[in-house]
Symmetry: C2
């Protein structure tokens, strides 16, 4: 058996299958780790470090000798021969295939925006966003011109779904709380954070009351929530918005994309090879047992599939729970098929465990249908629930301890200890022709009574 | 006052100076964090995560309103005007300057080797080395040809100083212990790790007995220690060695450079602007008070300086202690000068606190002169001492807790949880023309009695 993709769908299928000695399993991923996506925005905002939310796939399966983990990228599929072709090695044969390759960003046909407005799907995305956020404050600190400084201090998050709302909330917390005392020329609490959403409210999967609660909590953190606002242009210094058909330009140096996703590239390969249908987002349309119609040995689970949700006019939402349940269902189906006596053909049934998002420190919103009115919490209760759920699902015991330590410490100190600028560390070169202001590191008399420059015996440069 | 560089020298000077209200201080660094270099090899070998050994400079100085932290790269110096020019902004004026810009790798005139044999100085170096080590095992797992597989399984560390010895020891532990059960086609314990040193023994700053002890401990981890062996060539698939004038070629895909350092680029700028002498490694020769002769307001501390060590035929060694003591001395000298009554001109005196290196799990060597015979430990005692000292000097309380948790967990589970391949995740394309072997994920009868392929009802591809 072959699983392509070690996200939630692939991982939970592999964990269930690898416990059965009758199974020989190969798990292929482009990365050597499982990434706990729901906490990725915390890496992007400096609260956690990449390896704290990632676990090497090999170490997860080290005690399962029937499971082989391979690093590689699937690029073709031959359903007749039962082979998946790899971009960097020989093909891998399978009898049963589980496709769980997930989604990537969608810029709605404007791929040129990607350079200016990075999305948040991978560890590299998260460290790049972290770099841009931190560089923006650093550049503002060194910028004397108030107009250019304001551009650096403006952050736009495009997309009011859970990722966008959590990202905007974390930015609000960074500006209002974490960096409050870190700078000398700028006041981080004056940063402008704008959350842009095309629909009439943020967090569209939640009930209306929850959206309103989230909006209030974001506004308390200084975030401007702009609904019914479409993004029609992005460049390196601004985003162009359209409200009621009227365009406006919002100057901003940091633009983050949380607006849309489309199925991974491999989904198109699978659709072409099998004749499967895809929906508007490129997701593969699967039958009630999550197989591709006409291909009972090819399962598709998680975000890359349009997993059916009977009784709803849309597929299962693209959240971790949908992928986890899809992966577990497929593993159980495969194991049942190993038993020749079994005639069980029960379909996939998604159980909506509910949704929880946090918005800054000590607040958040929940929507947990099966808890009835109890399931609709806001503020502190939602925040506590969120912490518990995320710790419980995080893979790896040491990661749980470390993340708990980080969170406890951040909570007590109002700090974020993973604020590293890696990669290109330096500010972009100043483009304007006018000479930049000289920063003076010498003590000046205007610096207050504590400063006593005359106490320094050689205030005149002794070496001149 | 201006400090260029936030390593040990710059940081300890800044911490001391910033406690004095008479001081107005600016600290400039190319990075926004202080890096705890002695643990960098643990990031390179997947034991720790980058942010666990780095602390944002801003958060260190957030409670010192007299201290301004700026992100930027110094590129010129005007000692007459008292200005440091920046590559990405206006110049910064100073009355007193502390240069603490450290060192970078030296390939002894063969800069073309850098692409094949990365060194270990920055976080980005460490994640690149980590990527190469992990990719090598992944590639070996997928490589069917035994010769090419052996190339992937050979790791060469060039340079037998503390960094090289610790890196080789960690590689030995990874192969013999951490990855032991992680692979299905290869046996990681068969990896070949070669430590190459041009002198007649490794760890040359230690006494001879300690070098012999370290060699024995490395050999127990499966490391081949080759002394009196010079590297005369490096390419993408091998390293060329010279022993007694005879050349040999050692095929290896992973070559790590821990052989030499030279002063940072800014050292040359400072030397040219001030007329300071530099030594063979480009380090600035300073007077007994760590100023540049003729420039009493320009101090140079840490690895970038050849700090005098009276009674020894070489300058203070380029270790953290040398920089910490240099930085603290300079800060105290500057503060004394603020007091017009002070005539104290005591010179810098280095106190050798000793050296400790660990070699794999539960073992290491120490050389602590002031403890007498007690100061020469090997094995477990050295390992415990090392843990304590490194935790004590690590900056940031939450980092200490997190690192302690990681170490305890790694120790108990024999694991390394930060084994992430980030950046380019994929294997290099296969260059050879012959078709690679097909990996078969189907159950086969040769896989043992537990495997029951006939139990799968549609072993023939149902979709054909």
């Amino acid at each position: 058996m072959l699983i392509v993709g070690g996200g939630f769908g692939g991982l939970y299928a592999a964990r269930r299958l690898s416990r059965d000695a009758r199974v020989q399993l190969t798990l292929v991923d482009r990365r050597n780790f499982h990434l706990f996506q729901p906490l990725l925005y915390q890496v992007a905002t400096g609260a956690l470090s990449p390896s704290e939310i990632a676990q090497p796939l090999r170490s997860i399966f080290r005690k399962r000798p029937n499971t082989t983990v391979l690093l590689g990228e699937a690029e073709s599929l031959d359903p007749v021969r039962g082979e998946v072709g790899m971009s960097d090695g020989g093909p891998i044969a399978f009898d049963t295939l589980i496709v769980a390759t997930g989604v990537r960003h969608s810029y709605f046909g404007h791929d040129e925006w990607a350079a200016y407005a990075p999305g948040l799907k991978s560890i590299d995305d998260a460290t790049e966003i972290r770099r841009r956020i931190l560089i923006a404050f650093e550049a503002a600190e060194r910028e004397a011109d108030p107009v250019r400084r304001a551009e650096w201090m403006t952050f736009v998050v495009v997309g009011g779904g859970p990722t966008g709302a959590e990202l905007a909330g974390a930015l609000g917390e960074i500006a209002k709380d974490t960096l409050r005392r870190d700078f000398r020329s700028i006041d981080p609490t004056q940063a402008r954070i704008v959350l842009v959403e095309a629909m009439d409210r943020i967090l569209p999967p939640y009930p209306k009351g929850r959206s309103a609660s989230a909006t209030r909590q974001l506004e308390r953190l200084g975030v401007t929530v702009r609904t019914e606002t479409k993004v029609v242009g992005v460049d390196d210094r601004s985003v162009r918005l359209e409200v009621d058909g009227v365009e406006e330009r919002l100057p901003a140096r940091t633009i983050l994309w949380a607006a849309g996703v489309q199925a991974s590239t491999f989904a198109r390969v699978v659709a072409q090879a099998t004749g499967a249908e895809t929906d508007r987002a490129g997701r593969i349309v699967v039958g009630p047992d999550l197989t591709i119609p006409g291909h009972p040995r090819i399962f598709v689970v998680g975000d890359v599939a349009a997993q059916p949700w009977p009784g709803h006019d849309r597929p299962v939402p693209g959240v971790a729970q949908g992928a986890i349940q899809g992966g577990s269902y497929v593993a159980n189906t495969i194991l049942r098929r190993l038993d020749p006596a079994s005639t069980d053909t029960r379909p996939f049934r998604y159980f909506n465990r509910g949704e929880v998002a946090i918005i800054g420190r000590l607040s958040g919103v929940t929507d947990i249908p099966w808890l009835g009115p109890f399931g609709r919490q806001g503020g502190f209760a939602a925040w506590v629930l969120w912490l518990g759920i995320h710790l419980a699902y995080l893979i790896g015991f040491s990661n749980r301890i470390v993340v708990l330590t980080r969170w406890a410490w951040s909570f007590l100190t109002h700090g974020r200890s993973s604020r590293l600028i890696t990669g290109q560390p330096l500010l972009p070169p100043i483009q304007e022709p006018e000479p930049p202001a000289t920063h003076d590191a010498r003590p000046t008399t205007s610096a207050g009574p504590d400063v006593a420059p005359e106490a320094e015996p050689a205030a005149a440069n002794a070496e001149t």
